[in-house]
């Protein structure tokens, strides 16, 4: 869980008891939740939400500052990675 308090799909609520009639709807809802969870995970892993986290971080630490836009943020990130390369194992 990000400490910014975002709710992660698929974790928070417990399944509610229900009758047979809404079983397909429940399955559909579960599948939708699972898909959202996969999309969240892939996005977080690859870095889709890194810019949003940067903006939130800046808002927290320097409230008056103007955040970089997405393009500029990623240019900065890549420039930083170029200066501090990480290994990839065998």
């Amino acid at each position: 869980m990000s400490a910014a308090g975002e709710v992660v799909p698929g974790l928070a609520s417990r399944p509610r008891p229900a009758g047979r009639a809404d079983r397909p709807a429940r399955l559909g809802a579960r599948a939708a939740r699972a898909w959202r969870a996969v999309r969240w995970y892939v996005g977080a892993l690859l870095g889709d939400d890194d810019h949003a986290r940067y903006v939130a971080h800046l808002a927290r630490t320097s409230p008056g500052a103007t955040p970089l836009d997405v393009g500029e943020y990623w240019r900065e990130r890549h420039a930083h990675t170029a200066r501090h390369p990480g290994s990839r194992c065998c």
Binding site: G5, D48, L58, R60, S62, G71, H78, C90
Partner: protein, 750 residues
């Protein structure tokens, strides 16, 4: 303060929300039963694998045995190590929280970080080593992968990560200097650098051997470069930040590249352009390595990274699904004659020590310690998550290694040796190869030349004879398994080239990233020399960057070319060097860990890192000794060197598998280089271990010494510990969620 149930909540400020949970509740009965069942199942699976004789074993037992062992080890041994040595404190701010800068220090969700860390440590290593080790039968490899991981590799990753987290995410080299002193630090640094060079070279050799004489493979891999460039440009200029979108596009293009490779390989022009010799591919790889390491990160490296991450997860799933769906029977014996006699064609040497050298990634891999002390410690949210990420990540890679081993041992034994014996033994043609493998005493019906040629045609290749290096064998096995599961034999060639593609993708990413890291180490060290060389420290100085890149690429390129032109077959001679180098790096990492443990006064638990350290040293020193001093020319580099030298001096025109005087000269040169490298590695590690021993003796005498741990800073965030939050953690998380977005951290560093 704790309540009666044994759940203690950690607060760092009066009245603030809790930042951690200490759960001292006893294990519920249901969990105990579950683990008893798991343990029983695992025991049954192990006995089937280890004891069954005469009938064939089903591959599923391997998966069951491995998974059950991992579950038990993670729940009990890893927790034990955590309690006795790591002692994580969630009320302490990790460097990610403390130095958060939205660039490299960022508290990252543990599930996402697990993915990052796993993608960083897993590559072609766990796929290649086990495949080569299958020459010794299925049992030794399986035992070493699982036991070595649980007691060695996972412990190393876990402890290195934990130690680095307490030191601001410092790298292994820096920690070696801080804890072992100047001499140990320099030896560790030089060791890391040299070992990185050899690892890149040998992985390059694996790629070269996989792609040689394969127009389909060359075309597909060549296409990944424009695909990556396109992705890079797209992300930079068209849709910045849409990483998963561009990765999906790239993945589709990648699959298209694999499929179209088949079409291209059928055409005449395709075969003309894309059938390349090993030497040609090696030179292309050298050129690629240089170019990729000087081009901007966003253009080539980052897009490749995104593609690789996708493929890594996809590969595990595919392998697992394939094995569980098809449930193939194992063809290899439990322990082959090559294990006992040490005369195997894939690599020379007997089971001890060379099995443990050949399988590094998946059991105990020193390179992981560079990752565990690289970007991961700067992203860890809470200290208690290190078990999941460090120990759990390595276990997952070990599982990949098991599946790779299974894939190799379900191949018909004759075909396995056709693929893995060097050309000098197989002769290169189906007739000669059939004659060779039929003479190996493998049991079962003899193989015919037609079957060998047919197997190659089935996977869309001209020939599969002497396709050494492990990658083609894994691809072949995967094609066999997956074709039975999905699509039938018409898809076999797609699966084969898909497997080659992802292995090459992983390796090329390692080559690119490794060259950059090595270049940085080099320019940093040159910068330390002072005077005009100080300019090397400036990363924006292009000439310096290019020069250092060229030097690094020349280093591994030379070894690669040496391996490619070796008349004895590069994998046979160089792979042991790769394994020894990797394990020696593990010895360096474990020495640092051991020293820290001793310095902290935890003498009673020093055996936890001590056990793998001692084992690793025994294995690598024995292997190094044999490689340097053995009088058997098949085993010892210098013995081989002397034998060829003597023949050359006596005026012979050919000797052994070197058919010309130039080839003999090549062997003389190559074995000298390999012998020197072996001596260098062993010396560096001995120096490091001695430095560690000196510090440890001092620490024992003093009853403990200060370490370079950073002082405590209280944490102000909360995060669950394991993959799935416990009920107590869920309650606390709900409290945090109700609070809304978190306020600015008091006294944060910008």
């Amino acid at each position: 303060m704790s309540d009666a149930s044994g759940v203690e909540v950690l607060r760092t400020e009066e009245g603030a929300l809790p930042v951690g949970v200490i759960d001292r509740r006893p294990m519920p009965v249901r969990s105990k039963i579950v683990f008893a069942v798991i343990a029983l199942l695992g025991a049954v699976a192990w006995s089937v694998i280890a004891v069954v004789r005469g009938e064939t074993v089903n591959a599923v037992w391997f998966v069951v045995a491995a998974v059950c062992t991992y579950a038990v080890a993670y729940r009990f041994y890893a927790r034990f190590v955590e309690r006795k040595i790591v002692r994580p404190r969630d009320d302490r701010a990790t460097p990610a929280e403390r130095y958060e800068n939205a660039k490299d220090f960022m508290p990252t969700d543990r599930r996402v970080l697990f993915g990052h860390h796993f993608a960083a440590i897993a590559g072609a290593g766990p796929l290649v080593g086990p495949v080569l080790a299958a020459q010794m039968g299925y049992l030794p490899g399986t035992l070493w992968i699982v036991i070595g991981c649980v007691l060695g590799g996972a412990v190393q990753d876990f402890l290195v990560l934990s130690i680095s987290v307490r030191r601001r995410g410092r790298s292994l080299g820096q920690m070696a200097r801080d804890e072992l002193g100047r001499v140990g630090g320099i030896a560790a640094l030089v060791g890391v650098f040299v070992i990185m060079i050899i690892i890149i070279a040998v992985l390059g050799l694996v790629v070269v051997n996989a792609l040689a004489e394969s127009p389909w493979g060359i075309f597909s891999i060549a296409m990944t470069i424009p695909i990556a460039l396109f992705m890079g440009v797209y992300l930079r200029f068209l849709r910045p930040g849409r990483v998963s979108e561009v990765s999906l596009i790239g993945l589709v293009l990648l699959l298209l590249a694999i499929v179209s490779g088949g079409w291209v390989a059928e055409t005449d022009w395709g075969q003309d352009w894309f059938t390349l010799s090993k030497v040609a591919i090696a030179w292309l790889l050298v050129a690629y390595g240089f170019a990729a390491s000087v081009l901007p990160v966003w253009l080539l490296l980052a897009p490749r990274d995104y593609l690789s991450t996708f493929m890594k997860v996809g590969t595990i799933v595919l392998l697992a699904v394939g094995i569980l769906l098809v449930r193939p029977e194992v063809q290899a014996p439990a322990v082959s004659s090559f294990a006992l006699e040490g005369n195997g064609p894939a690599f020379a040497g007997s089971l001890f020590p060379f099995l443990f050298i050949t399988i590094a990634c998946g059991a105990l891999s020193g390179f992981h310690s560079l990752i565990a002390s690289g970007t991961t410690p700067k992203l860890l949210e809470k200290e208690s998550q290190a078990r999941l990420i460090g120990y759990g990540g390595m276990m997952t890679e070990s599982f990949v290694a098991i599946m790779a081993l299974v894939t190799a041992v379900v191949i018909d034994q004759h075909l396995y040796f056709v693929m893995n014996a060097p050309t000098a033994l197989t002769g290169g043609t189906p007739e000669a190869a059939a004659a060779y493998v039929n003479g190996l005493g493998l049991g079962g019906p003899d193989i015919s030349p037609g079957e060998i040629a047919g197997a190659a045609e089935n996977v869309g290749e001209e020939s599969i004879i002497s396709r050494t290096g492990g990658a083609p064998t894994l691809a072949f096995g995967m094609a066999q398994v997956l074709a039975s599961a999905i699509g039938g034999s018409s898809l076999a060639s797609f699966w084969y080239h898909f497997a080659i593609m992802f292995e090459a993708l992983f390796i090329l990413t390692t080559v690119d990233a490794g060259t950059r890291v090595a270049r940085f180490m080099l320019s940093d060290s040159l910068g330390n020399l002072g005077g005009p060389a100080k300019r090397f420290r400036d990363p924006s100085w292009r000439v310096g960057a290019w020069l250092c890149s060229a030097l690094v690429v020349a280093g591994w390129g030379a070894i690669l070319l040496m391996g490619v032109t070796d008349p004895l077959g590069g994998i046979n001679t160089l792979f042991p060097l790769f394994g020894i180098a990797n394990q020696l790096l593990a010895a360096i990492a474990l020495s640092v860990v051991f020293t820290v443990v001793v310095k902290k006064g935890l003498f009673r638990w020093a055996w936890i890192p001590g056990l793998p350290l001692v084992w690793d040293l025994v294995v690598t020193m024995t292997a190094s000794y044999q490689k340097i001093f053995s009088t058997d020319p098949r085993l010892g580099y210098w013995a081989q060197h002397d034998a060829f030298r003597a023949a050359r001096d006596a005026g012979e025109e050919s000797f052994g598998s070197a058919a010309t005087p130039e080839a003999m000269d090549a062997v003389i040169r190559n074995t000298a280089v390999q012998g020197t490298l072996s001596i260098l590695f062993a010396a560096l590690v001995l120096v490091t271990v001695l430095a560690a021993a000196v510090v440890c003796v001092r620490a024992v005498r003093a009853g403990g010494l200060p370490t370079s741990e950073e002082p405590d800073v209280p944490s102000q965030i909360f995060a669950p510990t394991g993959m799935v939050p416990t009920d107590a953690e869920r309650e606390i998380q709900a409290l945090w969620d109700a609070e809304g977005p978190r306020p600015a951290r008091a006294g944060v560093h910008g």
